[in-house]
Amino acid sequence: MDSTNNPAMNCLTNKLTTLGSPPENKKLYSITKPSDKKNKPVEKPDIVGFRTDNRDMQTRFHFRMDLCVGCHACEVACGEQNGLPVDTQWRRVGEIQTGTFPDTKSYFLSSGCNHCLDAACMKGCPVDAYQVNHRGIVEHLDDTCIGCGYCTWNCPYSVPVLQTDRKIVTKCDMCTHRLDAGLDPACVQACPAGAIQIEHVPLQEIIDTYQTDGVGPDMPSPDITMPSTKITLPKDMKPEDFEKVDRGFVKPEEPHTPLIIMTILTQLGFGGFCAIFLVDLFRTHINPSLYMGDILGWLSPTLMVIIGGSLNASTLHLGRPIFAFRAIKNWRTSWLSREIIGLTLFAKAGLAYSAFLLLTEGLDMITLEASQGNLIRISLGAFTIISGIIGIYCSSKLYRVPARPAWDSVRTSVDFFVTGLILGPISFIFSLAVAMYFTKDSPAHLMTIAQVTAWFSAISLLFMVIEKTYYINKWKESDIHELSACADLNLKYFFRARSLKNVLAGLTLVSLIFLFPMGENIDKSYLLIASGITLLFALTFCTLNRYLFFVTVVPRNIPGNFITSAHDALNHHKK
């Protein structure tokens, strides 16, 4: 008799009073007989799961949806086995339904970690806190983890959890130490219907079959991460007919304030440097005089402080800020590591560029010829811009994860750059106004620059508003639940924040177009106030825009438990 089908076999587990290697007949998880496949070299795709090992077998969960009765014993057993606090569940049971009474069909999905072959958690982890062990189990290294939570964004099954009392991520390890001792994982042992089973199968088998075996109703596609879990669906089930029962209950995500600040300010910095560099580049065409050097000389260090400060501020969202330095370790696969490297590079380049500007111009701007130090300065400027592009791109790329469909598009990158293009010019105008305020003259040609810049900003802003509105409305009708739910959050739950955002967009636009008229006699105080207000409007707009970006994203997830999801979502809404 196949021991996977026999819960009574599970029962024997407990009789093993020592943890030595149990006799063969008491091995509880089924060892699939090594097939001839085993001896063939495994064709390993170039994926993260095979980075370090050369195993050819994989231990996996086999979930029998056809047997599960939805009793939730596995969830409680998992918590007991691992001594977990209630807010940290490594195993969850969800429900899916279809049909019309009395031909209703309802099934349950119990899921721990799927120990994917192409594990997104592992790829994204900036500190290499994940490793694949000899069984193919994706293990999390608690010591290494810095609590950035990026894996929780990457996993399409929302498996890794930020354990609040430890401030690190933790997750299911298939009770790997129990398996090594010949014992069943706690969930397997607890199941009264034998619906959770463990199998040890040739890796090639999973590579060959994950696209069919890993499919569950209303679940993320196995193509994202190549899950090792096999799901046996009930006979004649049409998975595409089913919907998870908690679909209607979406809870907004965390706003991640340090990340809002960090992304907005680095993008502002990037936009600012773009403006500086352009002016610097074409200064001879503008009028080789004047304030420019002064402006550039003090604006760029200010931007540096902003960028540096915001990068440091972002470490505050880590569970373990003191180990932030580790985060560049996994630059090979993690966009988070790359973001940090890119933005740091940008910051350093910007620093050099600013220092050069400050040293060569800030001290004696009138007399110095623009040609002096030209090549070095322009190179530094160009390098700043290029590293800025790389930094912002990496920064945007880290949000573009398949687990979060609303972010997973080039639109996120566009959004990040456009934010820079809105804020950069405005901060430049503001600097101009400040500089003019403290000098005697008010040359009209500078106003031309201001106006051109303002138009540039205005167009970027208009583009962003139209683009966002278009997509939110398009998503309303989307078949992809995560997108329609995102639209729903934008249109209903965050109606006020979104309206406010649009009002601010309008105000920014109006002030950009109407506050900077051409003319000989510009009131300097007026200009200062007008540009200050515009900057304030624009900053608030961009911050709200980014806030909505964070809170309205709907992560992919496995089906949930109706009453828990409904209770959580409605209570959250009440708050």
Binding site: H72, E80, Q97, K105, I168, P192, I322
Partner: protein
């Protein structure tokens, strides 16, 4: 301060707290869950009666696991069982006797003070109004020894027979149904039957939610043919091969229809009917009109489904009929049970493994109370009315036969009625929570307000009932006391004491013993008793030769997986099936083929109340949540009450998925309920779980009772649903 800083910076990730180690019994395990010792015991939640081991450390149970050697669960436990240790350390434990002062506040009092107050007050009232003015509402949660002790204390010590248990809210109809058909209570089958039956016919039983560990047996059935009859498409119905979505109460018509088909198509087990039953001719006559088309009309089931069910039953060698509250919670519960018995009898499905009409009980020891509680019958299935039975017991106990009660007193709902009428003045409530669980709460609260004395004995405080009590007696609970439980399949298993009760709390057994001292009747009632073992010894002796024969049950048998009564010289290892010899406990020795017809529902729907409210359970919670309400994870999995509504009904009433709703019956309303719009429920019905005190379903339910058993008709009352708009 430094620790806080360390956590903030990320230097401390609580590695020690989340370390693992090796437990000799369990293996690799979270270090904080590794106890000093594991104590074998039996679960104190439901009647499945799972064996478990409780991990004890520093006089606390820190973990619970299933007992692999126990035949009932073979190592499995449901989520409630797995977390059974958690309620024990809840801040809601009753740890000291409390008395209500003039201002209505509860104040601690000594045990002596509490006993003195209770016995004096009861004596005063009994002197004034007669012994019968004192009434007792007990439970299915105590140990069998405690039931036996309590029964003697109430009937012979306090001298009142107005004594019943909350088991009347649960399975008293099964008791009456069995008594009517077989001459005695006693579920004939066993869980092994679930593994071996060719056909399992569940009537009004949602075992996936309510008795999930039974699935451990169902799942082993190799040719599982599961038929589920339920107005709601429950988790269990989803797993069935044949699902019968019947109209509420029309189970009677369906059963009559099946009997009709069995007789018409000559599938009657003639030899069995001839030799072991009586009343077949009347039955045949009665069943004549229940043609499939007639039954189809009554039940709302297509004829094909009725035929399919009939064929499954008659083509199976062994059919296992099982039911729970869908049958029992009805004004016709007792007769429905008898009708199921009749169907089983005429098809010869009794007396073999896998062939039985089986009542799956509710509470962990409802069976123990049936056997020995001395409330609905004399101990060991003896009859109040039978003079010989009374004499036997009186002789055995060495007491005056004249003080033996000659009839059963008021049952639970009659006790409430009698309080309302002013006939009963004092009430002692033990381990139950009527102010959540009894139908028509307004009426119940009015009754309780008329009492001169309300004593509540419970392991938890405050509970809704405890809050209004004059006196609270803090009791030990599961894990803190020693004795036995009997499960649904008559299996007597040990419940071991693993730790001491908290504070001043005492085991119910001790409290009963102490009270007998205050009554001056300790020696009369409990001569020489020191522990529950003495009670068990006496139970063994008085049950010898009875159907529920304990005489062969030893400590060892109880401790190692338990044993199914009758356990005696003939069946030293217990007995899998009752009535395998075809001899019943009736005077003639033959079973009675009883029948009945369905009556209209006690409350019919109207224009204002168009929907039928169905009530039930969810797997995460137990009864009124005095226990499971203290388990964080269970509360997370099932945090609040909800009402299930069909999408068409929701649309018709302008209710959307994210709305909250109000449920209104002629007796009351519940507001702000979470709604679940789902196709698992018929458009004419709504369903709501009964566990939640805050959203107490019994504000709505209709106070109609089975006239024979006293069991409430919880399952159907008329309601309407409205969208709830919170007052702004």
């Amino acid at each position: 301060m430094i620790a806080k800083l360390k956590t903030m910076l990320g230097l401390d990730i609580k590695e020690k707290e989340y370390a693992y180690d090796i437990d000799p019994e369990i293996g690799y395990l979270s270090e904080k869950k590794i106890p000093d010792k594991w104590v074998k015991t039996t679960c104190g939640y439901c009647s499945v009666g799972c064996g478990m081991i409780a991990g004890v450390k520093d006089n606390k149970i820190i973990s619970v696991r299933g007992d692999y050697d126990h035949p009932v669960n073979q190592g499995n436990l449901c989520p409630k069982g797995l977390s059974e240790h958690e309620p024990l350390t809840s801040p809601n434990r009753a740890i000291t006797p409390l008395i209500k002062d003039e201002n209505g506040n509860h104040k601690p009092i000594s045990w002596d003070g509490a006993y003195e107050h209770m016995t004096r007050k009861v004596a005063e009232l009994q002197y004034k109004y007669g012994n019968d003015c004192f009434s007792v509402l007990s439970t299915g949660q105590l140990l069998t020894e405690e039931f036996y002790t309590l029964g003697k204390l109430v009937q012979l010590g306090f001298g009142t027979n107005n004594y019943d248990g909350n088991t009347t809210l649960c399975m008293s109809s099964a008791v009456v149904g069995y008594k009517q058909s077989f001459g005695s209570d006693g579920p004939p089958g066993s869980y092994k039957g679930l593994e071996e039956a060719d056909c399992i016919f569940l009537i009004g039983a949602n075992i996936a939610d309510n008795h999930p560990i039974l699935w451990n047996h169902v799942y082993k059935n190799k040719n599982l043919n599961l038929i589920v009859c339920d107005p709601r498409k429950t988790k269990t119905a989803m797993l069935a091969k044949t699902y019968l979505p019947i109209k509420p109460r029309s189970d009677i018509d369906l059963l009559n229809g099946l009997i009709h088909l069995v007789i018409r198509h000559n599938y009657v087990d003639k030899a069995y009917v001839e030799n072991h039953t009586e009343g077949f001719d009347q039955l045949a006559q009665h069943a004549e009109k229940y043609t499939p088309s007639f039954v189809s009309e009554k039940t709302g089931l297509p004829v094909e489904l009725i035929m399919e069910t009939f064929e499954s039953i008659v083509n199976s060698k062994n059919t296992f009929f099982a039911w729970t509250m869908g049958v029992n919670h009805s004004t016709q519960g007792s007769d429905t049970v008898s009708l199921i018995n009749t169907l089983a009898l005429i098809t010869g499905n009794i007396g073999r493994t896998g062939a039985a009409p089986m009542s799956i009980t509710g509470q962990c020891n409802a069976m123990g109370s049936r056997e020995f509680s001395f409330s609905s019958s004399l101990p060991a299935y003896r009859k109040f009315e039978n003079e010989q039975d009374r004499l036997d017991l009186a002789n055995f106990w060495n007491i005056d036969p004249n003080i033996m009660p000659t009839k059963r007193g008021y049952n639970y709902p009659q006790i409430i009625d009698a309080i309302l009428e002013g006939k009963l003045k004092a009430l002692w409530v033990i381990a139950t929570n009527p102010i959540v669980s009894f139908p028509d709460q307004n009426r119940l609260k009015e009754a309780f307000s008329k009492l001169d004395l309300l004593v509540v004995q419970d392991a938890f405080h405050p509970t809704p009932t405890g809050e209004i009590a004059d006196l609270i007696l803090p009791a030990a609970t599961w894990g803190e006391k020693q004795g036995s439980y009997t499960n649904s399949e008559r299996r007597v298993s040990v419940a071991n004491k693993a730790i001491d009760p908290p504070g001043l709390a005492k085991s119910d057994f001790e409290i009963f013993q102490d009270l007998s001292l205050w009554l001056g009747k300790k020696e009369m009632l409990y001569p020489g008793w020191t522990s529950t073992d003495d009670a068990f010894e006496e139970m063994r002796k008085i049950s010898k030769g009875r159907l529920c024969d304990y005489s062969g049950i030893t400590k060892e048998k109880k401790a190692n997986g338990g044993v199914q009564w009758p356990c005696n010289d003939k069946y030293p290892d217990g007995c899998d099936s009752l009535y395998s010899d075809g001899i019943f406990q009736t005077e003639s020795g033959k079973a009675k083929l009883l029948f009945t017809e369905s009556e209209p529902l006690p409350e019919s729907t109207s224009n204002s109340f168009r929907l039928i409210l169905n009530t039930g359970r969810t797997v995460e919670h137990w009864h009124t949540r005095t226990k499971t309400g203290n388990v964080e994870l269970l509360n997370k999995l099932s945090p609040e009450a909800w009402v299930e509504v069909n999408p068409r009904t929701a649309k018709h009433n302008g209710i959307r998925q994210q709305d909250k709703v109000s449920l209104i019956s002629p007796r009351g309303r519940i507001d702000d309920i979470l709604v679940r719009i789902t196709e698992t429920i018929h458009p004419d019905h709504v369903f709501m779980p009964f566990h939640f005190a805050e959203k107490c379903i019994n504000k709505l339910t209709f106070p109609a009772f089975d006239p024979k058993s006293g069991e409430p008709n919880y399952k159907q009352c008329a309601v309407r649903i409205e969208r709830y708009d919170p007052p702004s």
